[in-house]
């Protein structure tokens, strides 16, 4: 079944198509959720809400652009709403903030996806969101500023600091691995 037929089936609320769509994209969207959530439980909640929204609003998909991208955007929006419910604050974190990951040394030989995910998850919330939105999702700082109702300069500074923390942690991990 092609993606188009799959979408049409989901528009018609056909359970088998919804199931296929879920099977096809749940893993990727779970990874998105994990990047924004604080833990796996929260990621699961976000993914559940995201799929409910996808199934309910799939008829609004105009077949313009990537369907996966559309689903990702919905997932990111749901994740941001989750975070905003927790009254996200973009506070400045000290450059000497101790946020070293407590990941087993065996994992450091190669920076695999899971390790990277854990590193990102352990970033302060503001840093994490801006880093995800800018580096992985590809949003500009202006777009991020609009989405999060912050200044573009705040977004930039948060990104710089997120990068710095990540770089430090990666270097540390590499040293440990060596």
């Amino acid at each position: 079944m092609t993606e188009f037929e799959l979408i049409k089936g989901c528009i018609k609320q056909q359970a088998n198509c919804q199931r296929m769509l879920y099977e096809q994209y749940a893993g990727k969207l779970m990874a998105v959720c994990l990047r924004y959530a604080n833990d796996a439980m929260e990621a699961e909640d976000i993914l559940q809400d995201a799929f409910v929204r996808i199934f309910n609003y799939i008829n609004q998909f105009k077949f313009e652009g990537s369907f996966e991208g559309w689903m990702r955007r919905i997932t990111v929006n749901v994740a941001l709403k989750y975070i905003q419910k927790k009254k996200l604050q973009f506070t400045e974190v000290s450059e000497h903030h101790d946020s070293a990951a407590t990941i087993p040394a065996m994992a450091y030989s190669q920076l695999g996806e899971e390790v990277l995910l854990q590193l990102i998850q352990q970033l302060p919330t503001g840093y994490k969101i801006v880093f995800n939105l800018n580096v992985i999702e590809g949003y500009s700082h202006e777009e991020i500023a609009k989405m999060l109702n912050i200044k573009a300069s705040t977004s930039r500074s948060q990104l710089v600091k997120a990068r710095k923390i990540l770089q430090e942690q990666i270097i540390q991990l590499q040293k440990i691995a060596v």
Binding site: Q18, M30, E113, L117
Partner: protein
């Protein structure tokens, strides 16, 4: 590791990373999907259903409202008539109007008698001469049945006829009823008699249902309307001329076409409204029901837009120059060059779907023909008589092809399609013969049109008919 390298590294690693999903998540999502409201979005099919439902609800509400209104107005009129007739003191008419006596249940027989008595007692509180007059009137009625009262007409006819029916019974009391001087015993006797008449009327003629007869199809359609004084039923002919701007919609279903083709077709075509003009004859088939048959032309427009990539355009440029040599000779030189441009071309065209149609419908009109404002609900079918399609579309190889087809060789097969139609009309009377009307309506193609490329197209339209209705026979035979 610089920033860019790190960003690229992380992006590449995580962009398409797939994390394990909890096994029971699907059940949770399904439970949530079934539970949560779907918001206010509606897709195209749901739009159609929603509009149809709106028409039905509106029609139902209007029917309910006008039936209630008509029933109450009839009730008021009949009450007025009865009051006028009963002015001389015909207490049995009053009894007939009393709410207690509207109850026809045998169990309330005693109550009915009692209430009749009460009413007559109240009548007896009138000045003596009035009371006497009323009793004498009644007694005359009883002895010498008034022909006018006996004639079965309108509501009072039941009471009058009851007097006739009652006469033999009343004659048993004749010996005690030889003059106009009424004593208390006679009063009591008359009261009982009147109560009995009333009760008998109620049971015999079911007067409680006189004002609100039971609903049935014939009554709803107005087919059992009473004939007029000449004995004929309403038989009016009208012609309605109308025109409407249409909001059009289209649904495209696959009939063998590939998903890619459907997608491309869908994205290249957009409905751009339309219009309908027509005329229809309308004939009454009852007091309120109309059968309408007509001929109309409808046109739906569609914007076709397709971007063609790698279009090559070559332009030849000829430059002609005249050179004068030092010797004074003139020479003409022609430089020929060509410029080739590669780009894209946007092909736009306005497609027209034109149809000649026969609308057949039934309408129910609320109110009387003399009312200044009337309302009607209509429903029926529109049969396609002929169709012409003009414009451009995509073929299965995604090339732009002309629809231009009046014959069967075109892209679309010209099957005899049928549409359902529903509308609500509001009429404004201008004169005895001319009305103007506005009619919001909705129509939807039942079967659709198949194309050569495995696509079934169905059109729907919502519009507002504005028109005039002219009475053709010029007679007013209704009651």
């Amino acid at each position: 590791m610089n920033d860019q390298l790190m960003d690229d590294f992380i992006r590449n690693k995580l962009k398409n990373y797939s994390a394990p999903v909890p096994p029971d998540l699907w059940e949770k999502i399904m439970a949530d999907t079934n539970k949560k409201p779907k918001g206010f979005w509606i897709n195209q099919h749901k739009t159609i259903l929603a509009i149809a439902a709106l028409f039905l609800i509106l029609a139902g509400s209007l029917t309910f409202y006008f039936f209630n209104k008509n029933a109450s107005s009839i009730d008021q009129k009949s009450t007025l008539q009865q009051t006028i007739v009963s002015t001389p003191g015909q207490s049995n008419v009053h009894t007939h109007n009393s709410p207690e006596n509207q109850q026809l249940n045998g169990a309330v027989l005693t109550d009915s008698l009692q209430s009749s008595n009460n009413l007559n007692k109240s009548t007896s509180k009138l000045p003596q001469h009035q009371n006497n007059a009323s009793n004498s009137y009644l007694s005359k009625n009883s002895y010498l049945p008034n022909k006018q009262l006996l004639r079965p007409q309108s509501t009072t006819s039941h009471n009058a006829s009851s007097g006739q029916t009652f006469s033999p019974t009343f004659n048993h009391n004749l010996p005690g009823y030889s003059d106009n001087n009424q004593d208390a015993a006679n009063n009591f006797s008359y009261n009982q008699v009147n109560a009995f008449i009333s009760l008998k009327n109620n049971l015999l003629y079911n007067t409680g249902s006189l004002h609100l007869p039971p609903l049935n199809l014939r009554r709803i359609l107005g087919l059992d309307a009473c004939p007029n004084a000449n004995g004929s039923q309403r038989n009016d002919w009208y012609i309605e001329l109308y025109g409407a701007p249409d909001y059009t919609m289209k649904s495209v279903l696959t009939n063998g076409a590939s998903a890619n083709y459907l997608q491309k077709k869908d994205s290249s075509e957009r409905m751009k409204g339309g219009f309908t003009v027509g005329a229809r004859f309308s004939k009454t088939i009852g007091e309120h029901t109309y059968l309408k048959l007509g001929l109309q032309y409808s046109q739906m427009n569609e914007l076709f837009s397709q971007r063609k990539e790698n279009e090559t355009q070559t332009t030849t440029v000829i430059i002609r120059r005249t050179i004068t040599t030092p010797q004074g000779n003139s020479t003409t030189i022609m430089d020929t060059s060509s410029v080739t441009q590669i780009g894209y071309r946007v092909i736009r065209s306005l497609n027209h779907y034109k149809n000649l149609e026969i609308p057949v419908m039934l309408g129910y009109e609320f109110g009387q023909p003399d009312d200044n404002w009337r309302m009607a609900v209509n429903g029926g079918l529109i049969f396609d008589l002929s169709s012409w399609y003009m414009g451009e579309t995509l073929d299965t190889s995604l090339q732009v092809v002309a629809i231009n087809s009046k014959s069967n060789n075109g892209v679309y097969q010209h099957s005899l399609t049928t549409s359902i139609y529903g509308s609500v009309s509001i009429y404004r009377r201008l004169s005895d013969l001319v009305d103007v009307f506005a009619e919001p309506y909705f129509r939807y193609n039942l079967f659709g049109t198949n194309s050569l490329y495995g696509v079934n197209q169905r059109f729907g339209a919502a519009g507002l008919n504005i028109g005039t209705r002219i009475k053709l026979n010029g007679r007013r035979q209704h009651l």
